[in-house]
C-alpha cells in the first residue's frame, strides 16, 4: 500500500512540474504589460518601474522561473498584489469551507444517485427508470449558477426555509449545517446525475450476469441479490466517474460559492480576477491543479478499497 502511494506520487511529479510551468507561462508570457493591467493606463512610468521591480519582472525570464519554482517547492505561493498578505494564509483560511462543501456534495451525490440508479436498473423502463433519466438529464443540463439561483428563489426567497446568505458562525453547528444544505444540494446535483447514470448502466449489466441468476435461483432475497451480489460491481465505475468529474465539481464550486455567498477558493478566484491580482490568481491555479492531481491519486487508491481484484501493492 505505502509502496503504491509512493510510486503514484513519483509518477505525479512530472505532471505537477508541467502544471507549474504552464501556470508560470500563462500568467507571465501573456501579451501586454502586467503593470498596465494592474495600475491602469494613467499610472506614471516611475510607478510602473517600481511595480516591475516588486514583481521581479525586471529579471530574465529564466531567473523568474527558477524563483517561482523554488518558492512553490518551499510551500510559498508569494504575496497577494492587492493585500500583500501571504497567499498561503489566504488559501488556508477558506480551504475548509470549500472542502466542507465538496465533501457534502459528494455525500449528496452518493446518497441520492446510488439508490436511484439501482432502482432504475431493477425496474427498467418503469416509473423509477424514467424519473432517474429525467432527473439525470436535468442534473447535467443545469449550469451551477442557474440551479443555485432557482434553489435560492424557491427555498430562501419564497419558502424562507433557508438563509439567503449561507455564511454562519462556525461555533453554531446547527446554523452551519443548515447553511450547507442548499449549496451542497446545488453542487451535488451534477454528481447525482453522473452517479445515477453510471450506477444504472453498471447494474443493468451486473443483473444480467449468470451469478446473479444463480443467486436468485438459490432463493436468496431481493435485497441480498441486489446489494451483495450485483451492487459491488458498480463501485469501480462510480469511483471513476466521481474522480473524473472532480474538476467540473471544482468549477461548479466557484459558482455555488458566488450564488450562496460562501467564503471559499471559488470566491477567492473571483476576487483575484476582479482586483487583477495576478500573483493570487497564479497561486489559486496551482492549488486547484494540485487538488485535481491529488484527487486522481485518491481515486486510484479507492479502487483497491472497493475492488479486491485491484492489487495496490
Amino acid at each position: 500500500m505505502i509502496r503504491f502511494v509512493i510510486k503514484r506520487l513519483l509518477v505525479a511529479i512530472p505532471t505537477l512540474w508541467a502544471v507549474l510551468t504552464t501556470v508560470f507561462i500563462l500568467v507571465r508570457v501573456v501579451p501586454g504589460d502586467p503593470t498596465m493591467v494592474i495600475l491602469g493606463d494613467q499610472a506614471s512610468e516611475a510607478a510602473r518601474a517600481a511595480l516591475r521591480e516588486k514583481l521581479g519582472l525586471g529579471k530574465p525570464i529564466l531567473a523568474q522561473y527558477i524563483d517561482f519554482m523554488t518558492q512553490v517547492l518551499h510551500g510559498d505561493l508569494g504575496r497577494s498584489l492587492a493585500t500583500n498578505r501571504p497567499i498561503v494564509d489566504d488559501v488556508l483560511a477558506v480551504l475548509p469551507w470549500t472542502i466542507e462543501l465538496t465533501l457534502a456534495s459528494l455525500v449528496v451525490g452518493a446518497v441520492i444517485g446510488i439508490p436511484l440508479g439501482v432502482l432504475a436498473a431493477e425496474k427498467r423502463d418503469g416509473f423509477a427508470d424514467w424519473f432517474a433519466r429525467i432527473f439525470s438529464l436535468a442534473g447535467v443540463s443545469f449550469p451551477a449558477f442557474v440551479s443555485g439561483i432557482l434553489l435560492l428563489l424557491a427555498f430562501s426567497v419564497e419558502l424562507r426555509w433557508f438563509p439567503v446568505i449561507s455564511t454562519a458562525k462556525s461555533d453554531d453547528w446547527f446554523g452551519r449545517l443548515r447553511a450547507l444544505v442548499l449549496p451542497s444540494i446545488n453542487l451535488g446535483l451534477l454528481m447525482v446525475a453522473y452517479v445515477t447514470r453510471v450506477t444504472r448502466s453498471g447494474m443493468l449489466q451486473a443483473l444480467g450476469e449468470d451469478y446473479v441468476r444463480t443467486a436468485r435461483s438459490k432463493g436468496l432475497g431481493r435485497r441480498l441479490v441486489v446489494w451483495r451480489h450485483a451492487f459491488p460491481n458498480v463501485l469501480v465505475p462510480v469511483v471513476t466517474v466521481v474522480g473524473l468529474y472532480l474538476g467540473v465539481l471544482i468549477g461548479n464550486a466557484v459558482l455555488t460559492e458566488i450564488v450562496f455567498n460562501r467564503p471559499g477558493i471559488g470566491k477567492l478566484i473571483v476576487t483575484a480576477l476582479n482586483q487583477r491580482d495576478y500573483t493570487l490568481l497564479q497561486g489559486l491555479m496551482v492549488v486547484s491543479a494540485f487538488a485535481i492531481v491529488i484527487a486522481n491519486i485518491l481515486t486510484d487508491l479507492t479502487y483497491g478499497l472497493v475492488d479486491p481484484r485491484v492489487k495496490t501493492a
Partner: protein, 283 residues
C-alpha cells in the same frame, strides 16, 4: 457505394426513432431561429432604456418584464441568444477542428510526436475547465474572439484524446495499408480515409461539448467575463437578475430558463446520437 452509405443510414434512422433526440432537435432549432430572427421578432430594441418602467414585472406590456435600466427582458434574451449560440458553435468548431487534427497526426505517426501531444493534453486536463477558461479570458481580455479562443482551448484536449485513440485503431486496418501501397500521401490518408471513419464518434462528442461550451460562455458572462455590457448575453442578464433578486426575480428566472432549455435540448441530441451510434445499445 451502397456498402459504404448503409451503416450511416442505419445510424440516422435509429437516431430519428429516439423520441428524446427529436425533442432535442426541436428545442435547438427553435432557439437558433430565435437568435437568427432576433432583429425582426424582438418587440423592443434590446438597449432601449425606459426610465419610467424600471424592474417592472411581466404584467406591464413587456411580456417578460424589464430590467434595472428599463430594458425589455424578452428582447434582451432574444438578442443574447445570438452571443451564446455564436460563441458556443464557433468555439466548439475551432476546438473540434484543432483537437482532431492534432489527435489524428499524433495517433497516425506515434513515437515522439505522440508522447509530446499526450503529455500536453495531460497537463491541460489537470486544470478545471472553467478555471482555465476564466484565466484565459482574464488575461486575453473579454471579447467575442477571445471567448471563442478560450473555450476552444478548454475543449481541444478531449478531442485530441478521442481522435488519437480512434486513429491508432484505424492505423492497423487493412484499408490504410492498401492506401499506403497505392502511394497515397500521409495527409491524404489521414484526412480523406481515417477521418471519415472516426467521424461518428467525433460528432457525438461534439454535440455534448456544444452544451458544455454554451454553459461555459453563460457562466463566464455571469461572472462578468463575457462580451462587455450593454451587449445582452444570457449569463449577463442572469447576473443582473441575481443582483436584483429580491426586487425582480423574473429578471434572473427567464434567461435561466432559456439557458436550461438549450442545455436540455443539446444534451438530448448528444445522448440520442450516442445511443444511436453505440453498437452495444439494444436495436
Amino acid at each position: 457505394m451502397s456498402a459504404v452509405t448503409q451503416p450511416r443510414n442505419t445510424v440516422l434512422s435509429r437516431a430519428l426513432r429516439t423520441p428524446g433526440l427529436a425533442i432535442g432537435v426541436v428545442i435547438v432549432v427553435v432557439m437558433i431561429a430565435a437568435a437568427v430572427f432576433a432583429p425582426w421578432i424582438s418587440p423592443y430594441d434590446p438597449d432601449d432604456q425606459d426610465v419610467m418602467l424600471v424592474l417592472v414585472g411581466p404584467e406591464s406590456g413587456h411580456l417578460l418584464g424589464t430590467d434595472a435600466f428599463g430594458r425589455d427582458v424578452l428582447s434582451r434574451i432574444l438578442w443574447g441568444a445570438r452571443i451564446s449560440l455564436t460563441v458556443g458553435f464557433l468555439s466548439t468548431a475551432v476546438g473540434v477542428a484543432v483537437g482532431t487534427a492534432i489527435g489524428i497526426v499524433a495517433g497516425y505517426y506515434g513515437g515522439l510526436v505522440d508522447r509530446l501531444v499526450v503529455a500536453a493534453t495531460d497537463v491541460l486536463l489537470s486544470f478545471p475547465q472553467l478555471i482555465m477558461g476564466l484565466l484565459l479570458v482574464a488575461v486575453l481580455g473579454a471579447s467575442l474572439t477571445n471567448l471563442v479562443i478560450a473555450i476552444a482551448v478548454t475543449a481541444a484536449p478531449a478531442f485530441v484524446r478521442l481522435a488519437r485513440g480512434s486513429t491508432m485503431a484505424m492505423r492497423e486496418r487493412d484499408f490504410v495499408d492498401a492506401c499506403r501501397s497505392l502511394g497515397y500521401s500521409d495527409v491524404r490518408i489521414m484526412f480523406l480515409h481515417v477521418l471519415p471513419n472516426i467521424l461518428d464518434e467525433l460528432v457525438v462528442m461534439a454535440s455534448l461539448w456544444l452544451a458544455a461550451a454554451i454553459r461555459t460562455e453563460s457562466t463566464l458572462a455571469f461572472i462578468g467575463l463575457s462580451v462587455p455590457p450593454p451587449t445582452a448575453t444570457w449569463g449577463g442578464i442572469v447576473r443582473e437578475g441575481f443582483d436584483n433578486l429580491l426586487d425582480g426575480p423574473w429578471l434572473a428566472l427567464f434567461p435561466s430558463l432559456a439557458i436550461l432549455a438549450v442545455m436540455i435540448g443539446l444534451n438530448l441530441i448528444g445522448d440520442g446520437l450516442r445511443d444511436a451510434t453505440d453498437p452495444r445499445a439494444p436495436q
